[in-house]
Amino acid sequence: MATTANGLAALEGHVPDEEKPGFKTGNHAGQVRTCETTGLPVCLTAQRFIRLNAVAAVVFLLIGGVAALLLALTRWPTVHLLPADWYYRVLTAHGLNMLILWIIFMEIAILYFAGTTLLNTRLASKGTAWVAFGLMVAGALAINGAVWSGKADVMMTSYVPLQAHWSFYLGIILFAVGALIAVINFLATLYIAKRDKTYAGSVPLVVFGATAAAIIAVVTLLHGAVVMIPTFLWSLGLTEAPDAAWYRLVWWGLGHQSQQVNVCAMVSVWYLLGTLTTGAKPLNQAVCRGAFVLYILFINLASAHHLLVDPGVGAGWKIWNTSYAMYLAVLASMIHGFTVPASIEVAMRKKGHNKGLFGWLFAAPWKNPGFSAFFLSLVIFGFLGGITGVTLGTQQINIIAHNTLRIPGHFHTTVVGGTSLAFMGLAYYVVPLIFQKEYPAKALARLQPFVFAGGITVMAIAMSFAGSYGVPRRHWDINFTGAQFSAGFDSTAHLMMGLVGIGGTIAFVGLLIFLLLTVAAVFFGRSNAGKKMEAW
C-alpha cells in the first residue's frame, strides 16, 4: 500500500512533508535564537565563534593595513619612507597578516556561519572550536612576534635557504593546524546536520561553495604541513636544509591553493550577498555547483604558475599543469562570472527594472555597501584579476612577468579588490545580523566600497604597467643606488610607481573607513537585538 501511495505522490509531483526541501526540526537544544531580520536560526555557539574569528580577522586586517600604507609610501619614489631593512620587514608582515591571517580568520567565520545557520544545525563541537581558535591566535601572535622583532625578514614565501627564527615556522604550523581543526569542525557540522535530519533536500548553494572551499583548504593545509615541518626542524638545527626547488614546489601547493580557497569563499560570498541585497536566485543550480566542482578537481595544479621559469621542471610539466588544469578552473570562474551577475539581472528585471540592456544594473541597490562591495569585487576580480592571472600564468608569457610588479599588480585585484572587498561587503551584514549592532555613519559606509575599490584599482593597474617596464616586486630601490653596475628604469616606470603610492594611499583610506566604522559598530554601535536590522 505504502509503495503505491508513494508512487502516486511522485506521479502527481507531490512529496511527503518530511522530504520537502527545507528546514526540519533543529538540534540546537535551546542554544539558538531566531534572527529578527531573516528568520533564520542562529546557533549561539556558532555565533560566538563567528564573532571571535571576525574580530581577530579585523585586528590583523588593521596590522596588515598599516603595513600596506607604509609600503605604498615607500615605493612611491618621491616619498620613499622606510629604510631598507624595515621595508622588507613590513613587507613580510603585510603579506602574512593580510593573505593568511585576515583572510583565513574571516573564512573560518564564514564556514561556521554557512555550516550552522543555513542548515538549521548547531556547531558540531564547541571545545574543538576553542582549540582551533586558540591555536590560530597563538600562531598569529608567534608569526607577528618573529616578524616585527626582525627575526624573520624572509617575505611571506620564506624560500629556503633563507632562514627565519624557528618561532616563525612554528607560528605558521600552529596557525595552519588550528585552521585545519576549524575546517574539520565545519565538516563535522555538515555531518551532524545530515545525521539529525535538521533539513531535507540538497544543501544551499552557499553551503556547497563553502564546502568546496573547505575541501581545498584541507589539501592546502596538508601541503603546508609537508613543507613547513621539515623547514621548522631545519631552523632548529636538527636537519639539513630542504632542497630549494622542492621547497618552492611544495610551498606553492600551500601558497597558490590557499588563494583558491579564497576564490571559492569569495564566490560563495558573491552568491550570498547577491541574495541578501537583491533577492537574487541562482539561475541554474547544476551549473553553479558544477563550477565549484571544477575548482576542487583542477585548481590544485595551478600551483605550477609560480615555477614557470624555474630550473628543474621541464616544459612539458609546465605546459601540462598550466593548460590542462588551469583552464578548467578558469572555465569555472568564467561560469561564475556570468551566473552571478545574471542572477542579479533576473532578480532586478523581476522587480520591474526592465529598461534597456543595463537598466537593471543602474537600478541596483548601489547605496547598500553590501551590494556595491560585492559587485565591485566581481568586476575587479573578473576584468582585472582574472584576465591578468591567466595571461601571466601562461607558460611562455611568464618570462616577461615573473617576479616583476605585474605579479602583485595581478593579485591585488584578485585577493584584495576581489576577496577582501567581498568580505568587507559581508561585514556590512555580519555586524548587524550576528553582532546585532548597527553601523554608525551609514553615509560613510555607503561610500567606503567605492573609495577602497578605486584606490586598489589605480594601484594595481599602475603596478602592472610598472612591472611591464621590468620593475621588480619586493624591491626597495629601483634606482639601484650603491649597486656595482648602474641599473634602473625610465621615467614612465617612476611615474607608475608614484601612482602605486597614490592608489595605495587611497585604498588605505577606504580600508581605514571600513575599520573605524566596523570597530565603532561592534563596540559602541546601537544594539538591534529583538529588532530587524535597519535597511542599508
Binding site: 540538497s202 544551499p204 630549494a244 541574495t275 628543474g312 609546465k318 611568464n398 618570462i399 639601484f480 648602474s486
Partner: protein, 175 residues
C-alpha cells in the same frame, strides 16, 4: 536563493543564455590551452627549465675556469668575459652581485648557465624584461640569442636579503 534548499529536480540543463556563454568560454579555454604547445614548437621564447643539479662549490669552479679562459678585461673589480659564440657561459649570482660581465655578439647563440652561491635569486634582464628563477643547487641553462646591440643590466628580482636592491650586473652585446 543561494541560501535556500533548491527545489527537487534542480539538476537540469542550463538555459540558452548560459549555454551560449559556457560554449564560448570552453572555446576560449581551448585557444588558451593550444597556444602554449603551439608556441613551444613555433615560438622563439620558451622556458624549458633545462637544469642540472650542482653544488655551489662545483658551480663556482666551473665559472672560475670559464672566466680564466675568456677574460678580456676588468670593470669595477669584475672580470669582463668575451666567450666565443656557441660556447657554454657561466653567470654566478650571490649576495649581492652577478659575476662576470658578459660580452656577447649579436645574433649569436650562447648556453648561459646561471647558478647561485647562496640563496634564490632572480635573473632579470633589463630593459629587455626577461626573467628567470635562479635556485641554489641547480645549474639553470638558458640558451639565449641577443638580438640587439647595447648595454643591458641584470637585476635581481628575487628577495635575497637586505642588500637585494643593490644587486645589478651587466651584459654587453656587440654588433
Amino acid at each position: 536563493m543561494s541560501i535556500s534548499f533548491p527545489e527537487q529536480g534542480w539538476f537540469k540543463a542550463p538555459s540558452a543564455g548560459e549555454r551560449l556563454w559556457i560554449g564560448l568560454a570552453i572555446a576560449w579555454c581551448l585557444v588558451l590551452t593550444l597556444a602554449m604547445p603551439y608556441w613551444h614548437f613555433k615560438g622563439k621564447q620558451n622556458s624549458t627549465g633545462e637544469a642540472y643539479r650542482v653544488t655551489p662549490a662545483e658551480f663556482y669552479q666551473r665559472a672560475q675556469k670559464f672566466i680564466e679562459a675568456y677574460k678580456v678585461g676588468e670593470d669595477r673589480y669584475t672580470a669582463i668575459v668575451q666567450p666565443p659564440p656557441g660556447t657554454d657561459v657561466y653567470l654566478t649570482a650571490r649576495m649581492w652581485r652577478w659575476d662576470p660581465v658578459l660580452k656577447l655578439k649579436k645574433d649569436q647563440t650562447y648556453r648561459v648557465h646561471v647558478g647561485s652561491m647562496d640563496l634564490n635569486h632572480g635573473f632579470s634582464l633589463q630593459p629587455v624584461n626577461m626573467n628567470f628563477q635562479v635556485v641554489p643547487g641547480y645549474d639553470h641553462v638558458l640558451t639565449l640569442t641577443p638580438t640587439r646591440a647595447g648595454e643591458y643590466s641584470i637585476v635581481c628580482n628575487e628577495f635575497c636579503g637586505v642588500g637585494h636592491h643593490t644587486m645589478a650586473g651587466k651584459i654587453i652585446v656587440e654588433e
